[in-house]
Symmetry: C2
Subunit: 204 residues, 2 copies
Amino acid sequence: MKSIEFWFDFGSNYSYLSVMRVVRNGIDVVWRPFLLGPIFQSFGWNNSPFVLQKEKGEYTWRDMARQCAKYGIPWRMPTEFPRLGVLPLRIMLVAEGQPWAGEFARRVMLRNFHLDQEIQSKDAMTSILVDLGLPAAEIIAAATSDATKARLREQTETAKTRKIFGAPTFFARGEMFWGNDRLDDALLFASEPKNVTRIARVDQ
Amino acid sequence: MKSIEFWFDFGSNYSYLSVMRVVRNGIDVVWRPFLLGPIFQSFGWNNSPFVLQKEKGEYTWRDMARQCAKYGIPWRMPTEFPRLGVLPLRIMLVAEGQPWAGEFARRVMLRNFHLDQEIQSKDAMTSILVDLGLPAAEIIAAATSDATKARLREQTETAKTRKIFGAPTFFARGEMFWGNDRLDDALLFASEPKNVTRIARVDQ
């Protein structure tokens, strides 16, 4: 099965676009939840660049509105940004390899960027899981276990090791692609062997 | 005539992609040369983010190679980055409204990102202008006049006023678009009145 690794944080607005767009027939999505905050902190930033850089931030919200209109994705400017979403990231680790992972991710993202609601409480996550017909209490217990907490920290360390500096980030056949603007390139590269030639040529 | 404003610096690698791609039948390109350095300095940065952020920088060069391969644009990793190109930016002010502006911009960009050569000397600029059959000495005299020097400083101040935070930046019908990844959106918006509706809807 062809596959794409998708590294994301639920607080990241450009990850939202990719979560809503990533599904493709014949390409398996390997979900890689991680915490973007510690990555930014390692660069000496105590917040998102969209908060720290006023001009870039203002532009970003205009861009988000336009991009959502372009792709037909719902959008409401979040009143809190970036939203902390540690619990749903941990739930994504429990969801690994499960058929409900993608739909859970979409529901959490829609809560954040369409409904403008918090994505951190057990109540909110229970509501989403129950809607999906899943054993919410059991999943949340697994997500809040020490083992899962440790796994999320490890995954964030792995993100650093793999030189991830933002989200969303994709890997297809070992090539890294950064940003929703590269999702199509990454999917094409994952799906069409002939593109290997094009990228390989780049190394000469 | 439909038009697009194109704000760029010759040292900017993503501006290179857009300079090579911007030509479209029926859309006038209004060239807006400016100095990106003072904009970055106003954010407290003493260099390009691709130099200051190691991981992002490494990725950027891989991305550039792939993007150039995708668009069929020649590429050689510059041994000096970012290259200072104040003289060609001043020449672009002299070129304002002239039919040779676009071709001059492409030649300068190709010197930087394909030939890996400096873009700051009078010799280099003379060579390009002579190749284009232009009165090089006269143009360089105009470009290095106090009036033109002042105009480049003013244009850079205008960039700040218009909240430009990077290059390339485009304006089409008053909408700002940032980055080579938004060039197609900007051109579409400049060319098709029906898109006004789509963007206007965003304001509701």
